[in-house]
Amino acid sequence: MTPLSIMMSGTKTVEPPSAVAIAGVSHSYGTRQALDDVTFAIAPSTFAVLLGLNGAGKSTLFSLITRLYAVQRGHIRVFGHEVGRASGEALRLVGVVFQSRTLDLDLSVVQNLTYHAALHGIGKHEGRARADDVLARIALSDRANDKVRNLSGGQMRRVEIARALLHRPRLLVLDEPTVGLDIKSRADILGYVRRLVLEDGASVLWATHLIDEIADDDDVIVLHQGRVLAHGSVPRVLDAAGAKDIHAAFTRLTQGTDAAIEAS
């Protein structure tokens, strides 16, 4: 796989196929370029952070991975399945948590989950069993029959994550999942998703603009104005930017591009 070797050459060997491989992806809305030649790949069982400010192109990238928008240029592969051509195969391997809330507020937690199961062709009994299973894992079993409307913001997010896991995907993509949550809920959710990687071998692409959500052994992709400015382990990104911490590295990287863009 060429995209992989471009990004990863000389750093570490990754066994193909990557959990998600993005190669030369550009996307524009009319004249506005949202993504510009984005290329990176995430190894299986990795917690990868897509770091960028609002408007960096994170949501656009997520919409492309989940095939809400068609890829205009480049390729996106999920465990080797191209999203454009084998979208069914690719999508069944992906669990998504969107930035905006997408639960049905008038339905109960379990109804939301079994609906999602049905969308994946999973029958009622199996869906119900899986719902009980995932609810136990996010410690919400006692709220199973409550209307979603009556849950707190943090609980809703946990239900959305549970829903994303219901069809047992291998890749979980989350678009700013902690936005609008209090500190404890944020920590809970982050901890829960990290455990999925450690214990279950899930691969996670976690978009955020919050630097304190990054751990030292994460894979980091810095996205700014539609371009990937850096990608690799935290030490590697720090090295490349010549900075002491991620915050400084991010500032230095993004200022560099801003200056370059202004100069051009």
Binding site: R32, T102, A118, G121, G201, A202
Partner: protein, 284 residues
């Protein structure tokens, strides 16, 4: 889940039973949502009943309806406009369930639907079937109330009208879905009312027989003839009296297919409105 995450079996495609589960799930959810929105049900019934009890009663003296097929005797004006009001229910229902998909509040539900690995044409068709299914109990409740108002069709007609209602429900749902994808102006319901629901309803045979329209304005007559809603009304009117209006059946069938294909193409990620919605301020 621990084990399965790591050893996901490599399978291709979906079995027919999985398609059935998916369709059932989508219809079930639409039904649940409908049950939760009691105001919507009440509004859906009050609207045609107002027409029936007030408008029709008032106009009964003004408008004489001569004997035209499928009626074999003189009929009261209330009887004449009943099929049109049945379709009015379906028209509102179709617009509501399809347009509601694009309201910001509902955008999330559309996303949930579209990231399912099932083929997109199947998801959208299922959504249409679900919207149509929800319209049926509304129409039959209306018919039941009308029956007490002494608007009675032949008993078999109540069964014969079901396939017609299924087809017209799909057509109007598909029209709403197509509109939701191509026009930004119609994202609010008032816009849909003014530019679609009212013109379609009034420029049709729902409220007055077309021969009367022809006397008043030949131009309007042709507009009515070209209006698919006219044919939906006539299809239902004839079916209610256990007859088939072949021309209307052909028009409604053709329009259903056309609108559905249009809606599926419009929701294709490469060209559809979803990508346009992604423009700045579009909620990405």
């Amino acid at each position: 889940m621990t084990v399965e995450l790591a050893t996901f079996p490599r399978v291709t495609g979906f079995a027919p039973v999985q398609y059935a589960i998916c369709l059932k799930g989508i219809v079930w959810r639409e039904g649940l949502r409908f049950l939760h929105q009691r105001e919507r049900f009440v509004a859906a019934l009050v609207r045609p009943l107002v027409w029936l009890f007030i408008f029709a009663a008032g106009f009964r003296q003004v408008l004489g309806v001569s004997i035209i097929p499928p009626y074999e005797t003189y009929v009261l004006y209330e009887v004449y406009i009943t099929p049109g009001l049945m379709l009015l229910i379906q028209l509102f229902n179709g617009m509501q369930s399809s347009l509601s998909m694009v309201y910001d509040r509902e955008m999330g539900n559309m996303r949930t639907l579209l990231v399912s690995p099932m083929p997109r044409w199947f998801l959208l068709s299922s959504k249409l079937v679900a919207g149509m299914a929800v319209s049926l109990p509304q129409v039959y409740t209306f018919l039941a109330i009308a029956w007490f108002w002494e608007i009675e069709a032949p008993p078999l007609g109540y069964i014969a009208v079901l396939p017609a209602l299924i087809l017209t429900g799909l057509m109007l749902g598909a029209l709403g879905m197509l509109m939701s994808s191509v026009s930004k102006q119609l994202e609010n319901f008032a816009g849909a009312m003014n530019f679609v629901i009212f013109p379609m309803f009034f420029a049709s045979s729902a409220l007055y027989p077309l021969w009367r329209v022809r006397e008043a304005s030949p131009l309007l007559y042709y507009v009515c003839q070209l209006n698919p809603f006219t044919h939906a009304v006539e299809l239902v009117r004839f079916a209610l009296y256990c007859q088939i209006n072949w021309i209307s059946l052909a028009v409604v069938g053709g329009c259903t297919a056309l609108f559905m294909v249009g809606a599926i193409l419009a929701y294709d990620p490469a060209r559809g409105f979803l990508a346009r919605r992604g423009e700045p301020g579009g909620g990405t």
